[in-house]
Amino acid sequence: MGTLIGAAAAVIIGLATAAGGSYALTNTADPDAAPQVQAKIKEQFNPNSSPEHVIYGNR
């Protein structure tokens, strides 16, 4: 029984770690997130120049 619980827990934790780890990896590996690139994007993108209103959110 203990082995079964251990195996099930290992699978669940493995899935959770994989989910968290892959998310962290894709986030940190995003070259656009680098401070230099972000600074350039901010320089070029000024949200005040185009839209009529600030929207509450997007679905």
Partner: protein, 563 residues
């Protein structure tokens, strides 16, 4: 481990969780994100008590913050609230779970506090709901005491409910929790308590001139949303599914997320049997049914026939607007999931042979929520940040405070939300109504994607129709505040003839010509009375808990025996 040391460990774990989220924003400055607006000193204007023309959606929360910021700076008040909301949630769940095992308590703490619900409501800025969420375990605890006829349980229930009821949704969440968990025999107590504590927003809502109907377009716009490949109800079961995709933690969209949700729910359901054994079946069943009600309400607009029924209700049933953004009701589902999950892990650990294996399983279960939603940590990985208001806001505050000219302020451009460079272009509610010492009218039309949801403030119709500052003065406007550096156009006709009295990089304040036609507001007496009744009830509960009633009665008894 003795009880005192166990409590210290639990407090340390809860504080650790709170710091893990809020440490980066603890410096001076304000976290301004979507609906979360705090100001250095908030004024106790009529709107804060629900006496204005807008629906009392943030009542009495605004009045409480106005009183708090009269003593403590607003940014410190905000940080205390944010830190406490996570700390109290975690510590409350840890104390609530019926167990002798410290590990199980820690699993319940992380399982309840570190959720998609907390993350999404934090990022969208619904801090009163976070307070309600934090109070729910304490409400359940006090309601169970009341059910068992323990002394002073009613006083504890009043004090647990009070911070949870700062807004109408919080009031309903807290009241139904107390009613369901205390059971039918205590219905008189819990119903009475619910009515008294909800009076501060119930009375202004009932007396509101403009009606309490809402735009049916809001049903679809604010309905629960699928966050990954599963349907919306699956996201809701995982305590997420908020309508606004922009505030959802990225980890919620991971392909693995729906599988993990199903696993968590299955484990939690298995743990409800031990919960029923320890609490007794009726309270455990009540907690589960409340949770199921939360899930059904949250997902209702996405179910067959749900949307037309709700749309009809918005247009015909007063107060049905409470069912808009219904994902908030899934807070009820969080407790059965967290407690069930913790008890199921405890039952599984008991079957393991070695202490090391048991410890590993419990540690893994405690870390499970943090691993699946890592992007709640560190202020949502930079999503939240403390910023300072530009000095323009203080200058305009001074001008308005020193001038006793009648008339309200209208904020331009006409838009509910702002996006300023000084707040890194984050979407934020216009801070003017809370940062300035006068009643400020803002356009309450909400824009979700390309859709517009009509506002509820009846006075705004005249403001929107105005073509000159004279029209604004006729609508009771004495000042025009133009906010710069945020999207939206300002109709130049509204400023022609208005006199600028202060101007800076971010704000310009104009005075409307002539005498503004100020209309008499309704009598504040019923609302003040309602707040008074609620306050007296809270004070009485506090006295009942803190006064040494037993000691006094023992002394009186011994004295009478001597005589």
């Amino acid at each position: 481990m003795d009880a005192r040391r166990e409590r210290l460990v639990l407090a340390a774990v809860s504080a650790g969780l709170a710091l893990l989220v809020f440490l980066p924003v603890l410096g001076r400055g304000f976290v301004l994100s979507y609906d979360m607006v705090f100001a250095q000193r908030q004024s106790l204007i009529p709107d804060a008590l629900g006496l204005g023309s807008a629906l009392p959606r943030s009542v009495p929360a605004d009045a409480v913050i106005a009183l708090a910021t009269a003593v403590v700076p607003g940014d410190i008040v905000q940080k205390i609230i944010l830190l406490l909301s996570l700390f109290v949630a975690a510590y409350g769940a840890a104390r609530l779970v019926p167990t002798e095992q410290l590990g199980t308590r820690i699993v319940a703490a992380t399982g309840y506090a570190w959720t998609a619900y907390f993350a999404e409501r934090l990022f969208i800025g619904h801090w009163p709901l976070l307070l309600t969420y934090a109070c729910l375990p304490w409400i359940v605890r006090a309601a169970l005491s009341l059910r068992r006829n323990e002394p002073r349980a009613l006083a504890r229930l009043v004090l647990a409910c009070a911070p949870a009821m700062l807004t109408p949704p919080g009031g309903v969440l807290a009241a139904l929790t107390a009613i369901a968990l205390a059971g039918p025999r205590k219905l008189g107590h819990t119903l009475g308590l619910a009515v008294v504590l909800t009076l501060p927003w119930l009375v202004p809502t009932l007396l509101h001139d403009g009606g309490t109907l809402s735009d049916p377009a809001g049903v679809a716009a604010f309905s629960a949303r699928a966050e990954s490949w599963g349907p919306a109800i699956l996201s809701v079961l995982g305590l997420g599914g908020i309508w606004n995709g922009d505030v959802v933690p990225g980890s919620r969209g991971a392909p693995m997320a729906p599988v993990l949700i199903l696993v968590t729910v299955a484990v939690a359901l298995a743990g409800l049997r031990p919960l029923a054994r320890k609490w007794g079946t009726p309270p455990a069943r009540a907690l589960l049914l409340l949770g199921v009600l939360g899930v059904v309400l949250a997902a209702l607009a996405t179910l067959p026939f749900g949307e037309p029924v709700l749309s009809w209700a918005m247009g015909h049933v007063p107060g049905a607007g409470l069912l808009r953004d219904a994902q908030k009701w899934v807070a009820w589902w969080a407790l059965p999931v967290a407690l069930g999950f913790a008890l199921a892990v405890e039952a599984a650990a008991a079957r393991l042979r070695t202490g090391a294996a048991r410890g590993a399983l419990v540690a893994a279960a405690a870390l499970f929520p943090l691993l699946t939603t890592p992007d709640l940590a560190w202020g949502g990985w930079g999503r939240l940040e403390a910023v300072r208001y530009p000095d323009d806001w203080n200058a305009v505050h001074r001008v308005l405070a020193e001038d006793d000219r009648p008339g309200d302020v209208v904020a331009l451009p006409l838009s509910t939300f702002r996006s300023f460079a000084w707040n890194d272009h984050r979407t934020q509610l216009d801070p003017a109504p809370r940062a300035l010492p006068e009643t400020v009218l803002v356009d309450d039309t909400l824009r979700v994607g390309g859709e517009e949801i009509g506002g509820e403030d009846s006075r705004m119709d005249r403001v929107r129709a105005a073509e000159s500052p004279e029209d604004l003065a006729a609508a009771g406007i004495g000042w025009i505040l133009v906010e710069h550096g945020t999207p939206g156009r300002v109709d130049p006709r509204l400023l022609t003839g208005a006199k600028p009295v202060w101007s800076g990089d971010w704000l310009t304040l104009y005075r409307t010509p002539g005498e503004p036609a100020v209309t008499r507001t309704r009598s504040p007496v019923p609302v003040v009375l309602a707040n008074g009744v609620a306050l007296v009830t809270i004070a009485a509960a506090l006295l009942c808990l803190k006064l040494p009633v037993r000691t006094l009665s023992r002394r009186r008894n011994s004295l009478s025996r001597k005589e």
